[in-house]
């Protein structure tokens, strides 16, 4: 209950307050969101498997986000930022789909 409420409140806060993002961070926010989505789906799958831990989830969430942003940042520094961001999105998308398949199996047994 708290989780759903917090998610909705967070989205509402982000839209309503319109926090001014630092200009250097605007490139990395979409990548960070995709990484967070991957962490969320991984957590859901782990929960269905019965191996969920909120502590592990929190750590993996932030580490995922930071690593994704770091990879794109390094790519920007060496001139392949757009390609590396594409690569990160592709890899995270594959992971999201894999996790989604596992979740689907857990829910529908198919």
């Amino acid at each position: 209950m708290f989780a759903i409420l917090a998610l909705l409140i967070g989205i509402a806060l982000g839209i309503w307050l319109e926090p001014s993002l630092p200009t250097g961070l605007t490139t990395y926010l979409p990548i960070m969101i995709v990484a967070a989505l991957d962490a969320l789906f991984g957590a859901l799958r782990a929960w269905f498997d019965g191996t969920f831990s909120d502590r592990v989830f929190a750590v993996s969430f932030f580490s995922n986000v930071l690593i994704a942003a770091l990879i794109v940042f390094i790519g920007d520094q060496i001139g392949v930022g757009s390609q590396l961001s594409t690569a990160v999105v592709v890899v995270l998308g594959i992971r999201i789909f894999t996790n989604a398949a596992a979740i689907r199996r857990a829910i529908f047994h198919a």
Partner: protein, 233 residues
């Protein structure tokens, strides 16, 4: 009822590997867990709050900003170069088209001026040549020659004096127009302009016009002069 806090975190939450001894959960368990708040959900809620703020921020940023705000420096430089090249190309085209336009305009003007000049010359030459009728203010000179003293050369001198004075159209005896090929001959008192022989009385109508732009449109006013009568005007 299994709670998520009871489970040992042997696997990373986002790990793809399946736990060996874990018992599977169903959708009903998920709904039940989400609808029953527990203390262990606080951390999860905090993480999701951060995630929600990020998503909301990204949504508003995406909606508000122009596409160049998140573009990279190399892309921006390329866009700028493309725009500059396009601008210079279009400016070159503008210059060429302006030059063409000026050329065409000046050509039209010069052609018009040349046509006007040619028309003026044509009018003047037509009047001098006697191919078109002429009308306008002028003088009438009547020569009385009772003693037969006027020679052809005298008459020619008179015509030339008229010409020098500015006469453009000269008519003799209301019937003979003096042109470049007119000649005078014969004995005293019987000088004949052109091929026709004219008798004693010389009635020369000289039309001196002040302006060259006037268009001749009517035939010369005709008036007869008799030998013995004065028709001076």
């Amino acid at each position: 009822m299994p709670d998520e806090s009871d489970v040992e975190a042997r696997h990373a939450a986002d790990d793809g590997s399946v736990a060996g001894e874990s018992h599977g959960r169903s959708l009903r368990d998920l709904v039940r867990a989400l609808t029953r708040p527990s203390a262990s959900q606080i951390l999860l809620a905090a993480v999701l709050l951060v995630f929600g703020v990020g998503v909301g921020t990204q949504l508003t940023t995406k909606a508000a900003d122009d596409p160049y705000a998140t573009a990279r420096r190399a892309d921006l430089i390329q866009l700028l170069d493309t725009a500059n090249a396009e601008t210079s190309r279009l400016e070159t085209e503008i210059e060429a088209l302006k030059a063409t336009r000026d050329k065409l305009q000046s050509g039209v003007d010069s052609a018009k001026v040349a046509q006007t000049e040619a028309q003026n010359r044509l009018d003047n030459l037509a009047i001098l040549n006697g191919t078109v009728p002429a009308t306008g203010p002028g003088i009438r000179v009547v020569i009385y020659d009772p003693s037969q003293k006027v020679t052809a050369s005298t008459l020619l001198d008179a015509i030339e004096e008229f010409r020098d004075a500015g006469a453009e159209v000269i008519e003799i005896n209301d019937s003979i127009r003096v042109v470049a090929s007119t000649w005078f001959g014969g004995a005293n008192g019987a000088s004949s302009p052109t091929t026709r022989r004219s008798r004693c009385p010389w009635s020369s109508t000289s039309s001196a016009r002040a302006t060259l732009s006037r268009r001749p449109h009517a035939s010369a006013a005709g008036s007869s002069a008799r030998c013995s009568s004065s028709a001076a005007r």
